[in-house]
C-alpha cells in the first residue's frame, strides 16, 4: 500500500514529533502560568482575584479555535505578528493555564489549614511553606485531573492544524490529498493520538500509585 511507503512513514513520524513538541511546549506554559493565576484566584485582594477569575472563565468558556484565530489572524491588527507554531503554542498554553489554575486552586484549598499554621509556628517562611508543605500536600489531588488536562491539551493540539501548523492532523490531510485515500491517513493519525493518550494516562496512573505509596 502506498500509504506505508517510506516517504509517508517519514512524514507521519515528523508530524507526530511536532504534535508531541507543541503539546509539551503548550503544557509547560500552562503548568507555569497556571500557578500564579491559581494564587491570584486564592488571593483576598480583589484586584488579583477578579482578573484571575475573568481569565479562567474566558479560557474555559471559549473554544480553542476561536482563541487561536484571535491570536493568529487578529493579532496582526494590534501589531502582534506570530508564525503559526508560535501562535499555536501560545494559544494552547494560555488556554491550558485557565484549566490548570482551577486544578491548582482546588488542590491548594484541600491542604488542611492546621498544617500551614504548624509550619508557621515552626518558623518556616511563606515560600518555604508553599514549597515544602502546600505543594506536596496538593500534589496528590492535582495529579489525577492534571493528567486528564495534559491529555486534553494533546487532543486539542489537533486544532492547531486549522491555523496551518504542520502537526499530525494537518499532515494526515496532506497525505490524504496525495494518496486520494481520504480516511486511512486520518485513521493512522487517530491511532498515533490514541497511543500517546494511553501512554500519558498510564504514566499518570503510575505516578499516582508511586505518590500514594510514598505518602503512606
Amino acid at each position: 500500500m502506498t500509504l506505508l511507503s517510506p516517504e509517508f512513514v517519514a512524514l507521519f513520524i515528523r508530524a507526530f514529533a511536532i504534535t508531541l513538541g507543541v503539546t509539551a511546549a503548550g503544557l509547560a506554559i500552562a503548568l507555569l502560568l497556571g500557578l500564579p493565576v491559581a494564587l491570584a484566584l486564592r488571593s483576598r485582594r480583589t484586584v488579583l482575584s477578579v482578573p484571575a477569575r475573568l481569565y479562567v472563565e474566558l479560557m474555559r468558556g471559549a473554544p480553542l479555535v476561536i482563541l487561536l484565530f484571535l491570536v493568529y489572524y487578529g493579532g496582526p491588527s494590534v501589531g502582534l505578528l506570530l508564525d503559526a507554531p508560535t501562535a499555536g503554542i501560545a494559544g494552547l498554553g494560555l488556554y491550558g493555564a485557565g484549566y490548570f489554575a482551577e486544578i491548582y486552586r482546588a488542590g491548594l484549598n484541600a491542604v488542611p489549614p492546621g498544617e500551614i499554621e504548624a509550619a508557621r509556628m515552626l518558623g518556616l517562611g511563606r515560600t518555604q511553606i508553599f514549597l515544602h508543605i502546600q505543594m506536596p500536600g496538593a500534589l496528590r489531588l492535582i495529579l489525577p485531573p492534571g493528567t486528564g488536562q495534559a491529555i486534553n491539551l494533546l487532543k486539542e493540539s489537533a486544532v492547531l492544524s486549522i491555523i496551518t501548523v504542520p502537526e499530525l492532523t494537518k499532515t494526515a490531510g496532506e497525505i490524504a490529498n496525495l494518496t486520494f485515500s481520504a480516511v486511512t491517513p486520518y485513521l493512522v493519525a487517530a491511532l498515533l493520538y490514541w497511543a500517546a493518550v494511553e501512554t500519558l494516562a498510564r504514566t499518570g496512573r503510575a505516578a499516582e500509585r508511586r505518590l500514594g505509596a510514598a505518602q503512606k
Binding site: E57, L58, R60, G61, A62, P63, L64, V65, I66, L67, F69, L70, Y73, G74, G75, S77, V78, K155, E156, S157, A158, V159, S161, I162, T169, A172, G173, A176, S181, A182, V183, Y186, L187, A189, A190, Y193, W194, V197, E198
Partner: protein, 217 residues
Amino acid sequence: MLAMLHQTYPVLLDGLMMTLLVSGIALLIGCPLGLLIARAALSDSRAARWTSGIYRSFWRGTPILVQLIIVFYLPMSFGLKVAPVLAAIVALALNTAAFQSEIYRAGLSAIPAGQLEAARLLGLTRAQILVRIEAPQAIRLMLPALISEALALIKNSSLVSVIAVTEITRRAQQIASATFHPLEAYTLALVAYLAIAAVLAGAGLLVERRLAHGGSR
C-alpha cells in the same frame, strides 16, 4: 466593533442558532447512546464490557477534529455523499456519548443494588428497570457533570466549521474575510460562546440549588 455587530448580527445569530441546533441534537442522541454504553460497561457479559471499553477508548482518546473528519469522509469512500450538518451531528453525538457514558457509569454505580433487586422481584423487565429506576436517579445525580459536558460539546461544535457547517465559528470566518477585520469578527464569536457558557453555568447553579432542596432523601 459595534458597527460590525450592527451590520452582521443576523448572520451571527444564524450561526448561533446552528451551533445550538447541532449541539442540542447531538447531546440528545448522545444521551440514550451513552446510557447504553454505560450499561454495557457494567454488564456481566465480557463481550459487552470489552466492546464498551473499546468504544470509550477510541472516542475519548482521539481528537474530536480527527473523529469529525473520519465520520465526514468515511461514507464518501463508499460513494455515499453525506450532508456536512448530518456528519457534524453524528460525530458530535458519537463523541459525547462516550463522555456521557462515563458520567452515567458513575451515576448508575451509585444506585443501591437493593433497589434493582426489588424491581426485579416486582417483575419489572430489564428495559423498565433502566428507564424507570436507574435512568431518572442517575440523571438527577449526574446533572452537574452533564451540564459541563454540554458546555464541552458546544465548544467542540466550533470544529464542525472545518466541514463548512455555518455555525458561529464559520460565520465569524466569513465575516472576517468579507470585512478584513478578523480581530473584531472573532471577538464577536468569542462573546457569543462566553454568553452560552454563562447561561449554562447559570442553569447549573439553578439546578444544583433545586437539587439541594428537593433532591435529598
